[in-house]
């Protein structure tokens, strides 16, 4: 009652809640997604106005082995396929991340420590900064006249004297050199390694030339700086590259070798032709003893290797006189593709045993799930502590001990990284997403197919994984991501975050999205629907540039499985899965009204004899006369009569009238919505499973009730018995609650006993 006496009396507090926007977890992602348009359709496919630019390169490159330097000159021909007129172009200068005055050296934290090892002290405070970065000698137009340009860290803007109109091409040339860095002792995805034992270097060279940035209708120019963690956005084009290295070097690169007859000895040509028709094991083009001999050479002569590559987004190469070289042919569809490995003796025996096999298995498996690998070869190059991908060539770690021994970890780590990097040919080299903005689109998707390939390799080559039964993948299965997802929220970022700003990039961009896709495949969509949608996406965006929406839309569009709730939860939030069995209420058919009804009638002051005749369910706990063991039709005369009046005797005999009713109350302490998968066990030991779809949570995000009826007593109910949902806390997954010994207690009792 509101009092109106004077001003000193306050009206009672209004407890009316405020209104809210649509927060239902199943709402469609109209607000999060970009609007579909003529460039990218609502179905997730390229639209009628879709365009992409093209950048062709003609390059002459020389490696100065003595000074660890690259000299280069190039002519870039850029085709403007956009409807827009361009006044300037942006060119990426990745090596500038290593310029002495580079701000990228200053964006990470630096603190003091109370004590240092002398080498650490020198590294932190006394070392001369490395003289890295591109030294640009000239930027000239197609007539050889200087072109106006300005360098902003790792991005160079070229100011075109004439606007580049839609549909037109422009060419310009750049000459440069830079110092290659030691990738073992410094940082980087490329560089050299010096082998003290023989004084030779092996080079893995990438990001070695000024290259075009991407221009599109999503970002305009993708000219976000290269700070180190965010990777690359690159247009497709055709490359012609001539690389001059010491004459005794073995080299391989992106593209088809044009002058093999000038480079290869007669013996190498013979072996190469042998490899072209060998499908079951690698053929050595350069053997270990030949490589060991070459290590002593230090030739002062030079050789030029000439390559041409069509429709690639980048170019890389590896060269050393230490390289052993093997090749094997793989049948992909109706074409022959070459699987190649290059490695110094330090990689053996691991590399000669497994590298090319892993390359071949990767090409075959990825082709099964996406499209036939369209290039003519894929190379795996041995490099210490590196895992990095380029079109047709990648650099991979995996080095045994000096005596040739190696642990399982080294072996499986090597096979895993080779699969991963070769797999990158598909994502992002061919399905070419903007890695600078979305690391997960290639890393997460690739890690998912890597997991499938690792498992396939284990099945196809049981000897390689013996005595294990399955390849020991460390990413993919749902239960392997729960540690990461249960970390303190301060250290978590959604998958849909720029990679530069993410705390733990590994699990965030690799593990979590890969696991999400695995869960989609195995638990939400099923393999048939998933595989078809995934292949549709891959084929739609082959040799094109997809955005996250294109992937999200295609997976739904091609399967009729609504996934908005899944994408939002897994990709746009840091929510985790925690579903539990809150309580289980057990009922039987009772001859008299239940205690609950009695109490309710009493509250309302209605005598029990006014209660209409109904079929009553009573809780097990209130069964004082053991009615639950009786037959339902004997307990409920009403039900018995009703059936007799409405069904024939035959029909009644065929009815399954349940004896027991289990009402399960599920709760969801975690934010993510997932299907409810339960396995229940009867008294007689038999088991059964039910899977409620995720939509069961659509009206109540906190609690859901379900009923199981049966004629046998249920003694045990387990939630997510196969650990498919990435539930971070399984202590609330059982009824009755399991009192399991912790890992700690199990160990302690073992050593004490």
């Amino acid at each position: 009652m509101i009092s109106h006496y004077g001003f000193s009396q306050q009206p009672p507090q209004e407890l009316k809640e405020k209104g809210h926007i649509n927060t239902n977890k199943f709402r469609q992602m109209y607000q999060e997604f970009s609007s579909p348009n003529m460039f990218r359709t609502a179905a997730g496919a390229p639209g009628p106005a879709y365009y992409q630019q093209q950048a062709d390169y003609k390059m002459n490159i020389e490696l100065d082995d003595r000074n660890k330097r690259i000299y280069g000159s190039e002519t870039i021909t850029y085709t403007n396929n956009s409807p827009d007129h361009l006044e300037y172009l942006w060119v990426q200068l990745d090596q500038n991340i290593r310029k002495k005055d580079s701000p990228s050296l200053m964006i990470n934290e630096f603190s003091t420590r109370p004590a240092y090892r002398p080498s650490g002290f020198v590294k932190d405070f006394l070392d001369k900064p490395f003289d890295g970065g591109f030294n640009i000698e000239y930027v000239r137009d197609q007539d050889g006249k200087p072109l106006s340009h300005i360098i902003n860290q790792t991005m160079m803007r070229i100011d075109l004297p004439n606007v580049l109109k839609s549909g037109e091409k422009v060419s310009f040339s750049i000459k440069w050199w830079y110092n290659i860095q030691d990738h073992v002792n410094q940082d980087g995805r490329s560089g050299y390694e010096t082998f003290k034992s023989d004084g030779n270097r092996s080079y893995i060279i990438a990001q070695f030339f000024p290259r075009m940035a991407v221009y599109n209708e999503v970002e305009g120019w993708q000219n976000y700086q290269f700070w180190g963690d965010g990777e690359f956005a690159l247009p497709f084009g055709n490359y012609e590259v001539k690389i001059t290295v010491p004459a005794d070097h073995i080299l391989d690169a992106t593209g088809e070798l044009q002058n093999r007859k000038d480079i290869f000895s007669k013996e190498m040509l013979k072996r190469f032709n042998e490899a072209k028709k060998t499908y079951d094991k690698p053929v050595l083009i350069v053997t270990q003893s030949e490589a060991e001999e070459a290590e002593k050479g230090f030739s002062n002569n030079k050789k030029t290797w000439h390559f041409k590559a069509k429709n690639v987004r980048d170019f890389a190469f590896a060269t050393s006189r230490k390289f052993i070289w093997d090749m094997m042919t793989v049948k992909i569809g109706d074409r022959d593709v070459m699987a190649v490995s290059m490695y110094p003796k330090e990689g053996n025996p691991l590399w000669e045993d497994y590298s090319t096999i892993a390359v071949a298995e990767t090409l075959k498996t990825y082709s099964d799930y996406t499209f036939d690998y369209p290039y003519h070869k894929a190379i795996s190059v041995h490099a210490k502590q590196i895992g990095m991908e380029y079109p047709m060539i990648c650099f991979n770690f995996g080095r045994p001990n000096i005596d040739g021994s190696y642990s399982d970890d080294v072996k499986f780590g090597m096979i895993g990284v080779i699969i991963h990097e070769i797999g990158h040919n598909f994502f992002p080299m061919i399905v070419n997403n903007d890695e600078r903005q979305w690391a997960w689109m290639d890393e997460g998707i690739n890690t998912f197919v890597q997991y499938i390939t690792e498992q396939k390799l284990g099945q196809d080559y049981p000897d390689i994984i013996y005595p294990l039964e399955n390849f020991p993948s460390d990413r993919g299965p749902a239960k392997m991501i729960t540690d990461y997802m249960s970390v303190d929220q301060n250290y978590l970022a959604p998958i849909m975050s720029n990679p530069e700003n993410v705390y733990s990039l590994g699990p965030n961009a690799y593990g979590k999205p890969a696991t999400a896709l695995n869960i989609l495949r195995e638990t939400i969509m099923g393999k048939e629907l998933f595989d078809h949608a995934f292949k549709t996406y891959s084929k739609r965006w082959m040799f094109k540039h997809p955005t996250p929406e294109d992937f999200f839309r295609t997976m739904e569009d091609a399967s009729a499985v609504d996934l908005d709730w899944f994408w939002r939860g897994w990709f746009y939030t840091t929510d985790y899965v925690d579903i539990g069995i809150k309580e289980v209420n057990q009922f039987y058919i009772s001859p008299k009204p239940s205690k609950v009804i009695e109490e309710m009638m009493e509250k309302r002051g209605i005598p029990m004899d006014r209660m209409p005749s109904l079929v009553y369910l009573e809780d097990f706990n209130n069964d004082t006369e053991n009615f639950k063991e009786g037959s339902p039709l004997e307990n409920s005369k009403l039900l018995n009569n009703y059936l007799k009046e409405n069904f024939s005797k035959e029909e009644i005999d065929n009815l399954e009238i349940p004896k027991f009713f289990y009402e399960i109350v599920f709760n969801k302490p975690g934010g993510l919505v997932m299907p409810i998968i339960i396995e229940y066990e009867y008294e007689d030991g038999t088991k059964n499973r039910i899977k409620y779809p995720a939509q069961v949570w659509r009206k109540n995000d906190n609690e859901v009730r379900q009923v199981i009826t049966s004629n046998k007593k249920i003694i045990n109910i387990s939630l997510d018995p196969d650990l498919e949902t990435a539930d971070i806390d399984t202590s609330n997954n059982s009824w009755p609650k399991k009192q399991e010994d912790s890992e700690f207690d199990t160990f302690k009792s073992k050593i004490k006993g």
Binding site: Q385, G413, V417, S486, Y510, F744, F747
Partner: protein, 150 residues
Amino acid sequence: MAFIPHKYYVSTSLYEFKEDRGSLQITIKIFKDDFINAFKKNKGINLQMRDDLNSKEIKFKINSYLLSHLSIFLDNKKHELFYLGLKKDTELITCFLEIENLPEFKKIKLENTILFDLFENQKNIIHLKKGNKKRSFILSKDTPNSVLEF
């Protein structure tokens, strides 16, 4: 990229306070190869070559390695950790440590620098469980310890 060479440099530790027993149980999971390499660097012993990692001699050395990288302060008082032993799996090594006769406390300071001497990017994920309260955080070379009030 596949990365940050070799998986991700992470260890996971569970510090569970068993109030009914008055003890703190610590379970630390580290990638087996990382542990072997760190140990080799620190003590000069290659654990890969040893079969029984719980033998007296090895246990003593592992104990000294772990204790030099772990410390716990309860209400500003340092407490002794007791190393029980370790379990070896395909990929992981699980170390078990314990503090018995735990007093009541309000503030805990934890330091865990395992593998920091080997890897710049090592992250040690710590889960603390006391009753039904759970806190988790990540320790790294830049933040090797954490202070919490329960």
